[in-house]
Structure formats: C-alpha cells, structure tokens
Amino acid sequence: MSDDKQRLAGELQRHGITRRAFMKFCTSVASAMALSPAMATQMADRLAAIQRQSVIWLSFQECTGCTESITRSHKPSLENLIFDFVSLDYHHTLQAASGHAAEEAREAAMKAHGGKYILLVDGSIPIKDGGVYSTIAGMTNLDMLEHMAKDAAAIVAIGSCAAFGGLPAAAPNPTGAVPVSDIVHDKPIINIPGCPPIPVVMTGVLAHVLTFGIPELDGMGRPKAFYGDTIHDRCYRRPYYDRGLFAKSFDDEGARKGWCLYELGCKGPITHNACATVKWNNGTSFPIQSGHGCIGCSEPDFWDAGGFYKALSTGSANPGSWAAASLAVGAAAGLASGFLNKGAKAEAERKHQAITVDDMRGKSDE
C-alpha cells in the first residue's frame, strides 16, 4: 500500500464523493452515537483531515459473523467509504492477498504505521497448550496478538468472543479461549460485544475513534454511547412488564399482542446493548420486536447463564435436580443423629433415679 501522506479529503475526491454526501454521513453517525448535531460538522472536518488511518484486522477464533455484520452495516450508508479511507491493511476475508504475501503485508503495515495503527480483533484467543488450537501461517494467535499489540495505538475487540471470550470460552472451553483483555494490559481496549455486534455500533465507534479518539467506556470497556443502557431500559414492551402482562408461549394471545417476553427467557434486563434503539438491519427490527426474547449475547458467559428460554429469575444450574439427593442425605444424617439421640435418651433413662416420697421426708424439717 502506498505510504503517501494523502489526506482523506483527497481520497474522497478520487471516489467522486462530494462534501455534502460526506456531511450527510457524519450527521447520521453523530445522531446514532447520541452526539449533539453540532458535532457532526466537527466530525466531518476532523475526518476529512486525518491521514489514511491504518487498521489491522486480526481474526482469531471467530465465526466471521462480525465481519459479516460490519460489511452489512447500512446506517452510515457510506460505511464502505470508511473502509476506503481506513486502509484496511490486513483482513483475512476481505483482502485479496493470501498466504505469505498477506503476512508480509501485515508486517509491512505494522512497520509503516508503528504506534499509530488501530488493531481490530475479532474472535477469542486460545491459550491452552501454548495456543496451538488457532494459528495463522504457523504463528499462534496468542503470539500474533502480543506481537501486533506492542505497536498498536488502540485495540478494538469486536464481538463477544474478542470482548469476553464468547462461544469458544463457553464451558468446557476446550481451547482455553480468553478475551483480548486477558492478554493485552498496557493498551487501551474498546470492547464492542455482541454476537455479532450491531453494524452501526461498530462503524459508529470506529468513526468516533478516528475522529475524537477513545469514546467514554464503562467498567467492562464498552462505549457508554451504545452500552450505557440495557435492552430492558429502552424496550418498547416495558409497559407490559411493569403491568405484569407476559406472553406464556411463543404463539399465545400474549405473544400476538406483543406482551413482555420475560417468561420466555428474555435476558433484556441484564443485557447492555443498543438493539432496542438502534435496532438491526437498518432499523428494521430487533429480537424482541420480532417476538423472541433477548438472549443477552453482548454479556460475558451468556452461553452458560442458564437456558435461553428459562426466565431470568430461575436457577441456571437447575437446583431442583439436587433437591431429591439432598433430601436423601438429610434423611440419612437425620436418622444417624436420631439414633444417636435415642441412645443418649435411653442412657439417661437407665441412669434415671425415681424420686420417691421418702426422698422428701427429710425435707420438711430442713
């Protein structure tokens, strides 16, 4: 890739994208990120001024769902525009080069933009048995991440796998999969969880990183603009929850009327994400609106948090199954202790000395 210091503005011209189109794009990104509209023009100016930002996309133990999602992000209809001027120097699926050529491109990009490129990671990193369960060109994901992270300006962990371990880390976690934050500690990490994350969330955060730098993050490294509220907080079915009107099965009267899906396992109350407002497929719908409960895909360990169709208030490890066994153990212990007591009582009865009137005769003159 040429290393000329071309500014984005020039890039736009070559693609015949007018400034007006670019302003329209920045307005919608600002709106999606709940930034004030005035920021849109600032964002446009800043974006136009940046050099080609080198982005290296590392795909580790992932299902390419996130890549699929990002290439389909509509909201800023010019998202391919972003990827045009974000010189996506390295992406397994998207780049033409492959094999060693691809690896050399990565190394070249790393050297060329040392300290300035943004590392995008999707997929978790297996560390068991030295990370042999996932390698690229003979190099383990673990080594590659550590190597690439050294000179990265910031790391964006795309998807629940990179952010929290996701499916690969679900029990029994055969490959010892861990999230990026378990390996890299000295670089700012932005987690964009979701399985996959919402397209506009990804491009929105990227735009924010490119223009204003790291967005405000919460305790788990997630941008507050998108992950500050839970689905439940923003869910349009919330009035039904408050009134206690719940669908009991997926095709009963309640479901048809669009009542709350709490009893059908919805994990909305504990899932931080923007699905309820930003929605999916360009604002068409989101899981709850289509009649299925939220499965909490943007929260850590959501695979192991009990059945997707069991209400949030149920035990996720099926405590009922232990009741019978503990009853038996309790009974056995009870019998044992009971016989012990019977023995003690019998012994007391043996030692018992009856009180007779004669015992009391001496009493009267005492």
Binding site: S337, A344, A348, A354, I355, T356, V357, D359, K363, S364
Partner: protein, 423 residues
Amino acid sequence: MSASFENGINTLKTLIDAPIAAYFSSCTNCGICAQACIFYTETDDPKYTPIRRVEPMKRIWEQNYTLVGKLKKLVGLSREVTEQDLQNTVELAFESCTTCGRCTMMCPQGNDIVYMIRRMREGLTAAGLAPKELQEAAVRTADTGSVMGFPMKTLQAQVNAAEKETGIKIHVDEPNVEYMLLLSSAEVMQFNEIIAALAQIFDQAGVTWTLSSKAHEAGNPGMHMGASEIEGEFIQRIVDAAQELNIKNVISPECGHAYYAIRWEGPNVLKRPYPFKVWHIIEVLDKLRAEGRIKTTGCETERLTFHDPCQAARRGGVNVPQRNLLNMVTCNFIEMNDRMACNWCCGGGGGMNTIEKAEPLMQKVFHRKRRQIEELDVTTVVTMCATCRNTLEEGIEANNMNIEVLGLTEVVANHLLKEKDND
C-alpha cells in the same frame, strides 16, 4: 437421697420428646405468650414471659438432641445448664405459674408451653428443688391418705353427719356399685356440705355409689411437683381400691388439678389404661340431667356468673356440662368475657395456693379475675373447684367485694325436688 443436680438434668433428658423438640424448633421468641399469662399482664414484669420458664430445658434439648446444638456448644456459643440456672427457674416454674395453660392457647406456633412447664417441674423436683410445701403435702398424702393429713375417721365423721342430716345411707368401701366417689381434702375440710348434697342428688337419681377408705383423696401433690412416680403412687391407690370394689366408674370431684391428674395424666404415668372410666362430678350430674334422673324446681334468681377452673375446663376439656346444669338451676346466668378454654386463672392453682412465697403474687394476679367479675356486676360466682373457691373467696375478701362463691353441685342440690314437694 437420689435428688441431685445430675439426676435433675438427666430426668429432663428423659422427658424431652418429639413434641418438645418441635416446640423449641418453632419458638421464634415473639413474646405473644406473655400477653396470655396473668403473671405478665398483671405485673408487667417480662421475667414471667411463659416460654422463659423452660429455658434450661431448651438448652438441654439443643445441646443433646440436635447436631447444630452440639456444634454450638463445641464452639462455645451455647452455655451448659448450671445448678444456678435450675435454682433461678424454680421461681418461674413453681412460684409464679399455676400451670393454667392459657399460654398454650395463644402461641402462634402452637407450642404447648404448659406441657413443657409440667416437665420442667419434674426436672426441678428430681434435682431436689421442688418447693418444700409441695414436698410436705406429698409426704402427708403418702402417710395419711389425705393432702391435708386428716385420717380416714375425720372423713367418716363427715359422712356420718351427712347421713344424719339427709337420712340417706352413704356407703364406704361398698363393692359392686355404679360409682366410686373421690373427694379432695379441701372439700372434706371446708366445703363438706358437698357430701350431703351428692347423697341427696344420687339418692333422687337412684345412683348407687360408695367412698373408699383406702382411696378417698382426689388431690395429687405429685402432679403439682411434676414427680410422676409419686403421682403414680397416689393414682395406683385409686386403681387398687376401684379393682378391689369392682368399680367401673370413678368420679373426680370439684377439684381442678385432681381431674387432670386422674383423667389425663394417670394412665400415662402408670403406662397402662384404667380398668374403669373416669368422670368429672359435673359430667355425671349432666348425664343424670340428660337422662332426666335429676328433677329440680325453681332457679337462682340473682345475677350470677361461672368461673371455669383451668385444669378441668381449658386443660381437662369439661366445658359444656357445667353450662347445661347452670341453665337448669339458674335463670340469670351471665357468661364471663373470656371463658371455657380461654378463661383467666383465679391464681391459686398448680400449687400456688400452698407455696407461701407465692402468696403476694397470687393476690396481685387475682385483680384480673376481680375485673372480670366487676365487669358483669353480678352478686354470685359459681365454680366447680375447691381450690378456685378458696382462692376466689380469699381474693373477694381481700378486695372487699361482696360476692358469694358457690359450688355448682351445691347449687344443683339446693334446687332438688324434695320428696314432700312433689306430692
């Protein structure tokens, strides 16, 4: 001398059973039993809260019969019962409790607190801590056959007087009759007109009955102390006498605790059922009334009320017969507010009237009964227990209320249709 601290603790261990374990497992220290106990309501002294009277037994149960309790003792969370603990409990179990059983009626958990107090007393007696007045009463009863210590010939004298007065033959030691009557010493000494009254009633009803020289005493100091073996000794005398005279029905007289001892505790102390049926005298009179074998005339006109003796009514279960009789012989009978199983105790039962130290407290708690009576402004109180009569009379006198106290049998006898009246 087998009474000792060890024997006391040991006895308590033998007495703790499933009900007591369930009661202690359920007690939530809510204090509602206090609201049922006259010793708390009249003194407002929280130390009289009923469940506190059996606290040592709770510890013995927890430390010996539950794993959790054993663990608590091991780690020092639960202190062992000491001799001092038992001595402190004497005041709560004997000197401020008539075993009236009202607390059992109020406990939300359904704990039978008086069931436990009775056993706590047994442990204290086994530890030699029973009040000396009760011990003396037991000695007297064993030696003379009467709680007050009078010999048989005193009773015989009363019987002869009653025969002369009524002209009706009163049998003593007569075999093969319908009933064998027991009398409490208080009746024989203070309310002996009961003998004549019964003679007349039974005569009119054509009932054959006898007294027994070997077992005329109904009272049972063994029960007061909770010394089951001694209680059993006195009960055994009655059983032997009844068998000797081939009696099928034994009458427990107008005496609260006597009825509870002979009717409910006796068989369980002897550990076998009786070869005869036990009746409260009022149950017998009511049976005769129902069979139309008692004819009475007129009725007591003045306003009167009835005091239900705790041991017979609340704990003994005799609640209806006395009302049937009252409706027969009185025409201005007003019920007390709290009555039958929820009546308030007169304060004298459970040995309280014999324990000297308990005297002031007994008088203080009588005010509950005083207010109950004054509330109805009646002139007469009828009851069916000699101890209650004594306590009521003393209390009425002490509070100079002019209320007359009558025994129910006496009232029935006063209204008997005399021979000459019906021609």
